[in-house]
């Protein structure tokens, strides 16, 4: 039971972080479909840091370094989206998709190059981080607490405050609702959108490292992040672009994802004798059903997906 709780919380953390990233980007007016790619890149940065700091005795240092590197890599990668979609007015769906493909292909090439350089016989795309992973967990009874859960909680509260209680957040949201009006009162729409995308890069990169350290201690980068970036977008829509609702939605989705990992631990579920593939499908099926019922009354930012052109006022 505590295992189910643990997995639910850690997967919910991933979903909360990435969905908040999507939330910031969309509130500024840019649809970020490239979250999946951003997650992979952030995960890559974090995993490499963890591997290089495997013997570091200071836990705090490891945690800080990993978080910082993943978030920074995510931000850097999100610049690709920002440049294309904000400055060059590219199709946001196309560029987001390109970032996802680029993320998986790029991470695979990088990891394979590093592995092959270290050992010519090693052509795998796996990074192991068993040692450093221990720095992130504290065992309380049979429950394995991860510091990432705390970080997520803090960031969730911070996002809420940033979005609703500060001048920056309100201006950001104005740019996603009516950029022309925002511009007319002196807000620089391009800058605000850049800020939105960069924040989504920060949170997405962080979500990536949390995801790959959630259940395993090595990751094969050819797999990408198994559609979690898109699940997060579903969470964001279900959460109606509001941080507090996103958190609840993420817990629900996290629960179904966790069920796939631990269902063998429950006698009655095991007795049903359902193939494991069905449990793997569950989060995606649930999200489709949920989206079908909640998207009708969508409260999406009005101007999302439309490139802002100063000349069109």
């Amino acid at each position: 039971m505590s295992l189910l709780l643990q997995y639910t919380l850690i997967f919910a953390s991933v979903l909360i972080l990435v969905a908040l990233g999507g939330c910031f980007s969309e509130h500024s007016g840019v649809i970020n479909l490239g979250l999946e790619g951003i997650m992979i890149m952030g995960a890559l940065g974090g995993a490499l840091t963890m591997r290089s700091m495997a013997d570091n005795p200071s836990r705090l240092l490891v945690i800080l370094a990993v978080i910082l590197v993943s978030a920074l890599v995510g931000m850097l990668y999100s610049c690709l989206l920002a440049v294309a979609c904000i400055n060059f007015k590219a199709d946001q769906t196309l560029v987001g998709t390109a970032l996802n493909l680029l993320g998986t292909a790029g991470a695979t090439v990088i990891v394979k190059a590093i592995n092959t350089a270290a050992n010519p016989d090693d052509v795998s795309s796996i990074i192991q981080y068993v040692g450093a992973k221990k720095a992130f967990t504290v065992t309380i009874g049979s429950f394995e607490f991860s510091w990432f859960m705390l970080v997520t909680a803090i960031l969730l509260v911070a996002s809420y405050i940033l979005l609703y209680k500060t001048r920056f957040g309100l201006r950001l949201m104005a740019c996603g609702e009516h950029p022309q009006a925002a511009d007319s009162v002196g807000i620089n729409v391009y800058k605000m959108r850049w800020a939105g995308v960069l924040i989504s890069g920060f949170l997405g990169g962080l979500g990536g490292i949390v995801f790959i350290t959630a259940g395993v201690s090595e990751w094969r980068f050819e797999y990408g992040v198994a559609g979690f970036g898109f699940l997060s977008l579903a969470v964001m829509i279900f959460g109606q672009w509001k941080p507090q609702r996103i958190a609840l939605a993420a817990l629900l989705f996290g629960f179904f994802r966790a069920l796939g990992n631990v269902y063998t631990g429950f006698a009655f579920l095991k007795a049903l004798n359902v193939p494991s593939s069905v449990y793997n499908m569950l989060p995606y099926i649930i999200s489709l059903i949920v989206l079908a019922f909640t998207s009708k009354s969508s409260r999406a930012p009005k101007a999302e997906g439309i490139p802002y052109d100063k000349g069109q006022r």
Binding site: L33, L80, A84, C85, F88, K89, A90, D91, T93, L94, V95, T97, A98, L99, L101, L102, T104, A105, G106, T108, V109, K112, A113, T116, A117, P120, V123, S125, E222, Y223, G224, A226, G227, F230, L231, L233, A234, I237, P275, S277, V278, N280, M281, Y284, I285, S287, L288, L291, A292, F293, S295, K296, S298
Partner: protein, 384 residues
């Protein structure tokens, strides 16, 4: 006055695509240089040469045949993406529709022992069904087709593995070989295989896919139905106001798009060229590469034929790079870079239009100045 070539839309698309290709290959080369400077030049040449790396013309022909065999399904996926995009929909679910097509046609061929035509029809129906789900969700529940597409991709992947596990070889994770289990399900060769040094995989699929490209071009460009679909894509509300069934159009175009992708799956897997691995952990890249091909082809069905061949050409070429230094995914990286660069096509066209306009303006000014000069000269002459 001479017509400016740069202002021609087709020329602009071609130029923009060429810029994307050259830049994409160059960036790929830079990545190779960073990984290992020693073999980078040779590796990028290998990727570009693909089947030409073989010395004997006979082998070259044979491997050109193999590239063509995989170009056909890629072209179908690209057409699927293109068809939906013309209606304003981004059918990223093409990858899942393709996957579902694989599942159905292989199961019908290996499990039910059907012959090739019904197998292919089943794959087409399967793809259309999946596209229809996305379409219904889009038009009646307002679910973004990209998100529903991705969710369906993952659901279908697990379904495919489950279904095809029932027809797999006992000792390997692969499905049974088509040529030994049920030869009647193999696509007819039409004697085309002989042209490619007896490549048994070359056959009906290749001309059929090109035929479909022409058909898509005709339907979208020359029929009332295609016009209605495109109008729906431009402005849903205006289309509705004009009496077009906009909801039906959205569903129908996603169904057609799915059918194209499903047909593409049958075109590859019914040649026996590939067997499905029942422990596959991500949807086949074919659907995603289709995005690259569609956009690189300038969203023109006929341009897409060439672009599909190019993308498949470098993807196959990636398999030949020196594995002790680089990995085959370098081709995936290059095509991903090309897709990213395709995002800038709009801007490139804008820049070309602007430079053409500027030049014209300059020429007009010059002509005007010359005329004035001329007039004042004459005036001066009169006064003297």
């Amino acid at each position: 006055m001479k017509r400016n070539l740069l202002k021609n839309n087709g020329v602009q698309s071609l130029l923009a695509s060429l810029v994307c290709i050259v830049l994409g290959l160059f960036l790929g080369y830079v990545v190779l240089l960073i990984i290992n400077p020693a073999g980078a030049g040779e590796a990028i040449l290998t990727v570009i040469k693909n089947f030409l790396t073989y010395n004997r013309p006979a082998s070259q022909l044979k491997y050109l045949g193999n590239t063509l065999v995989k170009t056909a399904p890629l072209l179908m996926c690209a057409l699927a993406i293109l068809f939906a995009y013309k209606v304003g929909l981004f059918n990223i679910g093409a990858a899942g529709q393709y996957c579902f097509g694989v599942a159905l046609c292989l199961y019908a061929a290996l499990g039910l022992k059907w012959s090739w035509l019904p197998c292919m029809l089943l794959a087409i129906l399967g793809g259309a069904f999946l596209g229809g789900i996305s379409g219904v969700l889009k038009s009646y529940c307002n679910v973004n087709e990209v998100i529903s597409g991705i969710m369906l991709n993952w659901i279908v992947l697990y379904l495919t593995n489950m279904l095809l596990t029932t027809v797999k070889e006992a000792t390997s994770p692969y499905t049974l070989a088509l040529s030994t289990t049920n030869p009647s399900a193999l696509l007819p060769s039409l004697g085309l295989g002989k042209l490619f040094n007896n490549n048994q995989y070359v056959g009906l699929a290749i001309p059929l896919s090109i035929l479909m490209a022409i058909l898509v071009w005709v339907v979208l460009g020359k029929t009332k139905f295609g016009y209605e679909l495109k109008a729906t894509g431009f402005n849903k509300n205006a289309a509705k106001y004009c009496g077009m069934a906009e909801k039906r159009n959205v569903i129908l175009s996603l169904m057609i798009s799915g059918a194209l992708a499903g047909m593409g799956a049958a075109m590859l897997y019914l040649t026996g060229y590939e067997q499905w691995q029942c422990s596959t952990s991500s949807v086949p890249a074919m659907g995603f590469n289709g995005i690259a091909a569609a956009f690189l082809g300038g969203l023109n069905p006929l341009g897409t034929v060439l672009a599909s061949f190019f993308i498949q050409h470098i993807t196959a070429g990636g398999a030949y790079v020196d594995k002790s230094m680089y990995c085959a995914q370098i081709s995936d990286l290059i095509s991903a870079i090309i897709i990213y660069l395709c995002g800038f096509v709009l801007f490139m066209k804008y820049a070309m239009n602007r430079s053409a306009a500027k030049r014209e303006e300059k020429a007009a000014l010059k002509a005007k100045a010359a005329a004035e000069q001329d007039a004042s000269d004459r005036k001066g002459g009169d006064q003297a």
